[in-house]
Symmetry: D2
Amino acid sequence: MPFAKSLTGIHVVAPLPFKPAALNGLSERMLVSHHDNNYGGAVKNLNRVEQELSQINSDTPPFVVSGLRQSELTFRNSKTLHEAYFGNLGGSGKRSGGIDKALSEAYGTATRWEEHFRATGKGLGGGSGWALLELELATGELRTTWSGHHTQTLATAVPLLVLDMYEHAYQIDFAAAADRYIDAFFANINWDEVNHRLERAVAAAKALHG
Amino acid sequence: MPFAKSLTGIHVVAPLPFKPAALNGLSERMLVSHHDNNYGGAVKNLNRVEQELSQINSDTPPFVVSGLRQSELTFRNSKTLHEAYFGNLGGSGKRSGGIDKALSEAYGTATRWEEHFRATGKGLGGGSGWALLELELATGELRTTWSGHHTQTLATAVPLLVLDMYEHAYQIDFAAAADRYIDAFFANINWDEVNHRLERAVAAAKALHG
Amino acid sequence: MPFAKSLTGIHVVAPLPFKPAALNGLSERMLVSHHDNNYGGAVKNLNRVEQELSQINSDTPPFVVSGLRQSELTFRNSKTLHEAYFGNLGGSGKRSGGIDKALSEAYGTATRWEEHFRATGKGLGGGSGWALLELELATGELRTTWSGHHTQTLATAVPLLVLDMYEHAYQIDFAAAADRYIDAFFANINWDEVNHRLERAVAAAKALHG
Amino acid sequence: MPFAKSLTGIHVVAPLPFKPAALNGLSERMLVSHHDNNYGGAVKNLNRVEQELSQINSDTPPFVVSGLRQSELTFRNSKTLHEAYFGNLGGSGKRSGGIDKALSEAYGTATRWEEHFRATGKGLGGGSGWALLELELATGELRTTWSGHHTQTLATAVPLLVLDMYEHAYQIDFAAAADRYIDAFFANINWDEVNHRLERAVAAAKALHG
């Protein structure tokens, strides 16, 4: 394949993949603000920071390069994780299929995994971050990832289920009640999408090993 | 495939994939200390933290869960990135093959990419972190990633070239002269390994898209 | 003076120093949730983490000590900064007195300082952090501090004006409109309190130099 | 007092306050490299970043302001903490005077405090950070602070004893043996200086309360 040009600054905002008024217990006002301002803002900023980075030269102070690169990682991951987050909402919340079996194999029971995942999310309440279920491609392990900032993710991994724990994801509807937000998140998970991601990620893991 | 059990705490230390006395300008003493203590320590700590995590229950304070999960991400990524770092050393430093062509397509010239990569590494001098060349699987973009801590990496990506900028990677041989370390790193890159990773990562990217 | 016992875990929640219904453009619901849940939660967690820390011994894994200590710094600073934040609200927003003169001396004009302070706050929109005006005791400099997390503050300094940029400080009333929140914050600053802090901080700076 | 102009970029490097060849178990080569390159580099970078910050205006992207402010905090605290670190070396390592009594009052015994302080330092081995003993001015508490990065310190506090755990502080002499470095650090502490700082910090705490 021909490789994409780097630092072009032409990333675009994807629309919400569901009707925001249709979710249970997550308001349209909050979902639209989250999508348009936080996700949309990240895409706009990613484009601006890529344009700045394309201009650096040997006179640019190293701390300026570092600052721009850190911003690039922030906005790039914010884009990726937000798209995966919205993409795994809009469902019935009923877990089934391959992911259910996979979680049982990895964690003993899928219920035990859910305890881990909820505890990881709850520990992030009142601050910023993400709770992620990821397939680590190099090992085939299903890992539950804590992330305290957009920049923090598991290396060599594909996110399967993404829970946004930034306060913009819940304060409008739940104020500080992060627990109730996590309940609402689980009630709206699109497990079909998660199963689709798992299938594709397993194929990628196999391809990586050749 | 059957999924690996989670939180088993049975990760093992991989040996150095080259004779440490054979590298040019990177001393055996430093490479062995780096491998045995920093990488080896991360594996040992990953095992301990996984065992602690396997015991959490509903009485565990959320901040304790968060602390353990942050440690898990630290040691898990430290293991992954150190293995990739040692794996891309031991070569001739002569860039050729698919990666050379890919970098030209993405950055205009491979030389321009090298400027970006070196500047990213240099900006990390005196602190902690990694400079990475990664294939972002979802987009097929070749990205140069700044990481100021083991926990920080690009989401949905496979590392192709990994430069350790923690001071344990260079202070013994170069004191604070991070520039000279980056020169020595480039002189020892195993580009055959990088080309192999690129090939496999491209296959994984295709498989991910189905 | 006799020094306080360490790690006692007996910190208490201070009440709001103003009637929350009386502020202009910051709702009672948001202020009370912020105080009771985010600030109050930090105090409760500080007490728990101090009790955990008081029990560590030579068998405690170093990463557990590090995790607890990082939590302690998080909650300790969260307590300090939240108290200073609520303490500098409830006023008329009219800047006068010593602080006005001091800012002019340091920044050319107080207006120029306000531009710096607002830009620092705005840059934190959509994430976590604080914008602070501090007196650096060792140098007597008035510094505008960016902080992206409770743990990040200027060393050897006393906060004079504290702006909470965590999203729990504004999402309920303003959704993602961080700019409008900063306007409302400025309209409610208690500059008498800031002047009082400046006076005391200057006395402390002099005492530090002996 | 007249307040210093802000963002002047004219900070200067202080010389080492001891003969670097005279310390026991910490080499002149390492101490001089640490002072000239890491501390000296921070001062130089602080000046550059202040000059960049003095130029920002309403067209500067918020993420650029944030990047510069984060760099400013990094280099400003690096300057402060490095000066305090070198300033509390060059002594006999024999603890006595007011600090010994104060630590006993706060921690039960000064030995218990030393366990806490050493464990905090040890937990930072292999990465970046500081272990600090600080007087929290607002409360008069003697706190042991974990810091994983220059930007992280206790709010409203004066550092009394400062241990640099960045790897540039020990890798040259000790490779990864952070424990042996901490031993050498303790053998060279200038407790007279720590006692002097305690006296001044107590005076500042009293002055702060008016």
